[in-house]
């Protein structure tokens, strides 16, 4: 290593590989339902897709976490997005292919993907 730029390159790469260890509460949280129902419906690839997508775009202040059964097992995999100061958004019947769009539109640009949300998919 000979320059500050080299050091910063290592820093940015290593930082992306470390999950947020500050534990501060002002980040966007993407929570994937990972109870038996979620796992059976394919929540694991969804979770991994979110983790990869967030890392790829080097997004700061976004954490991907998992939770238990959200209660609507027939609509799993379910993903909830919590943004500080906003209503939570619930995505249902998710799969890995839908993930890049959610990250690009919702997490980066702040426009929830209405077509994937519980409101659009669950018809009464």
């Amino acid at each position: 290593m000979k320059t500050l730029e080299e050091l910063m390159a290592i820093r940015d790469k290593a930082k992306a590989n470390m999950t947020d260890r500050d534990g501060n509460g002002d980040s966007i949280r993407i929570v994937v339902g990972m109870a038996t129902c979620g796992i059976a419906a394919g929540a694991r690839p969804v979770l991994n897709a979110f983790v990869e997508e967030v890392a790829k775009r080097n997004l700061k202040n976004v954490t991907v976490a998992q939770t238990g059964c959200i209660g609507m097992c027939q609509y799993e995999p379910i993903v909830e997005v919590f943004e500080p100061g906003k209503e939570k958004v619930t995505y249902v019947k998710m799969n890995a292919e839908k993930v890049p769009k959610v990250v690009a539109d919702h997490i980066v640009n702040g426009n929830p993907v209405f077509d994937y949300t519980v409101g659009a998919i669950v018809k009464d």
Binding site: L4, G23, A65, Q66
Partner: protein, 595 residues
């Protein structure tokens, strides 16, 4: 990319309560569940809350599991890591409030802390240079070598007001400037990691949790003072610290952060570890250097000071581990960042190793100026078993005690000195009403008598004579003249010893005499030990009203000193009694008392 990181404490405290086996079990269980590509297990340095070890923290949630057992691992992996359900009953109870989980930073133990020297401890993997770099590591070094002149670096350290954290409190920037001023063909940087005070483990935790920050800081010091070689003098009794330091040095060399032409600046610097055999005197700077030179660790007279004629008779800068640990942050964030914390004459923070009669034993870093009450009652969680706070000992065998009446003292160098105490390196031992202050003074004197190197007679002979008088007092054989003699001797040793060991050895006696003279007098005049510690002055007795005659004590007594018949009050024959206290522990009715 891992979605979850599990941090397990690999400090000495948690290692001794089997955190190594927990890591093994975790890795096995995670592999069995097919999560090895998703969850990463990291062994970190000390989290500080050693009383609740072994400690495990799961990110991104930041869940703090305390007192984890190997048997708990399958449940944590199955529930938390696989299904995302936090195992609440295994969390540190203070982080669980009704159904909410509070972040660790809001618990009493961490709330008032401000972590500068310990900022990476319990946060990064100390054996991985990339994690250190991710936390802005080596940026301060890069900044020094590419943007700042050595004079600039020294000026920043001076402006920050940083004072030596080894206990003396000498301004660090000034120390560096002395070495920088002296020209020589070779200069040295030495890190004093010979932490010898009983009850102190701050330096060990920094070395174990964040070794790269010492490597970085020493290199900066080398640049500022014109030294090209550094030595870290660390006790061989710190095997984890030594191992991680060596890994850090090797990694820094591989990455060109140690060696020739660092950051293409033309500056060369290299580091070596020297192991100490554990003699207390080797923590004294001149004795330490004598030991590095390969000689028997004995102090030499100052002047000449190390800045003029130090290691191998060359100009040398010697700083303590914690002092160095502050340097990278000061360079990166500026002098104002540092001196905005703490008090005017003692800026910054101080790490303390909390021990003794306190609930949260462990490692804390607080801004200077925090009161002793906040440390003991808020951060430390108070005294166990509802006992009363009596005093706190700072500075180990070189320091003194702060009595309960001064519990609102704001901790900084000058306040402690003004009450006849000293900051010391950071050991803070809490004592309650069951501690006898004469006995404490004797304990520390025992230590200094053992550790005196013997080179100068005030220390070698004087401390031994002092201990003899203290033994007379605790045996109930002393007179008030002995007390005067003890005090006279203490001042004489303080004034005439060659090095810091002897000059400070009488401090525990002088300080306890100042605040607890009545206890000394009680031992001498009334032949009583008010705290009930000094065996020669107590007797065990049975209260006939409370004794039910169950015979339990008589059966347990190892010397057959207790006699009596069933269902009738028993008596203790004080001439046979060896005062072991077994009867008192055995009695279910609280009938046995000591006086």
């Amino acid at each position: 990319m891992y979605r979850s990181h599990v941090l397990v404490c690999g400090g000495t405290g948690c290692t001794s309560s089997h955190s190594g086996e927990i890591i093994e079990a975790l890795e096995k269980e995670i592999a069995a569940k097919g999560l090895s590509d998703e969850v990463k297990v990291i062994k970190t340095g000390c989290f500080g809350l050693c009383a609740l070890g072994p400690i495990m923290v799961v990110y991104p949630e930041g869940c703090f599991y305390s007192e984890v057992k190997v048997e708990d691992v399958p449940e944590i992996v199955e529930e938390h890591l696989l299904k995302g359900r936090i195992v609440k009953h295994l969390l540190y109870d203070e982080t669980v409030h009704k159904d909410e989980i509070k972040p660790l930073s809001e618990t009493n133990f961490y709330k008032k802390q401000r972590r500068i020297a310990l900022r990476n401890c319990g946060v990064i993997d100390p054996e991985n240079i990339e994690e250190y770099i991710a936390m802005d590591g080596y940026q301060a070094l890069a900044k020094c070598l590419t943007e700042l002149t050595p004079e600039d670096v020294i000026q920043i350290v001076k402006d920050s007001g940083l004072r030596g954290r080894g206990g003396g409190g000498f301004p660090t920037g000034l120390k560096w400037s002395f070495t920088a001023k002296n020209s020589a063909d070779q200069k040295y940087v030495v890190c004093n990691a010979d932490e010898g005070d009983p009850g102190a483990f701050m330096d060990r935790s920094v070395l174990e949790g964040d070794p790269h920050c010492i490597v970085e800081a020493m290199t900066i010091c080398g640049y500022a003072t014109g030294a090209t070689q550094g030595y870290i003098y660390v006790r061989a009794e710190y095997p984890i610290a030594v191992k991680r330091l060596q890994i850090a040095i090797d990694q820094a060399r591989e990455n060109g952060l140690l060696g020739k032409n660092i950051f293409d600046s033309g500056f060369d610097f290299d580091l070596h570890i020297r192991l100490g055999a554990g003699a207390f005197v080797c923590g004294e700077e001149t004795a330490l250097m004598t030991s590095i030179e390969g000689n028997r660790g004995e102090p030499r007279p100052r002047p000449p000071y190390p800045a003029v004629k130090g290691l191998f008779a060359k100009p040398t800068t010697e700083n303590n581990v914690e002092t160095f640990a502050n340097i990278p942050q000061i360079i990166l964030k500026g002098a104002e960042f540092f001196n905005s914390m703490g008090t005017e004459r003692s800026p910054g923070t101080k790490v303390f190793a909390l021990g003794g009669k306190i609930n949260n034993t462990g490692l804390v870093e607080i801004p200077m100026g925090t009161t002793l009450r906040e440390i003991v009652e808020d951060i430390g969680g108070g005294i166990p078993n509802g006992k009363k706070f009596k005093a706190a000992q700072t500075g180990g065998p070189s320091g003194g005690c702060i009595p309960a009446s001064l519990i609102d003292t704001e901790i900084d160098y000058d306040n402690l000195t003004s009450i006849g105490c000293m900051m010391g390196s950071g050991g803070l031992i809490v004592m309650d009403e069951d501690n006898c202050m004469v006995d404490i003074a004797k304990f520390f004197l025992d230590f200094t008598v053992d550790e005196s190197c013997g080179k100068c007679s005030p220390c070698r002979i004087g401390t031994k004579r002092m201990r003899e008088i203290l033994e007379k007092i605790t045996d109930g054989k002393a007179t008030l003249e002995d007390l005067d003699e003890l005090e006279k001797l203490a001042h004489y040793i303080k004034d005439n010893s060659l090095c810091g060991l002897g000059q400070t050895a009488p401090n525990p006696v002088l300080s306890t005499l100042r605040f607890f003279r009545d206890e000394y007098v009680a031992h001498i005049v009334d032949k009583k030990c008010p705290a009930g510690v000094c065996k020669a002055l107590l007797s065990y007795n049975i209260d006939p009203d409370k004794c039910k005659g169950c015979t339990a004590c008589a059966r347990k007594c190892p010397v057959g000193a207790i006699s009596g018949t069933v269902k009738n009050p028993h008596t203790i024959d004080t001439s046979k009694c060896i005062k072991c206290g077994v009867c008192m522990e055995t009695c279910k009715f609280g009938a046995i008392y000591k006086k």
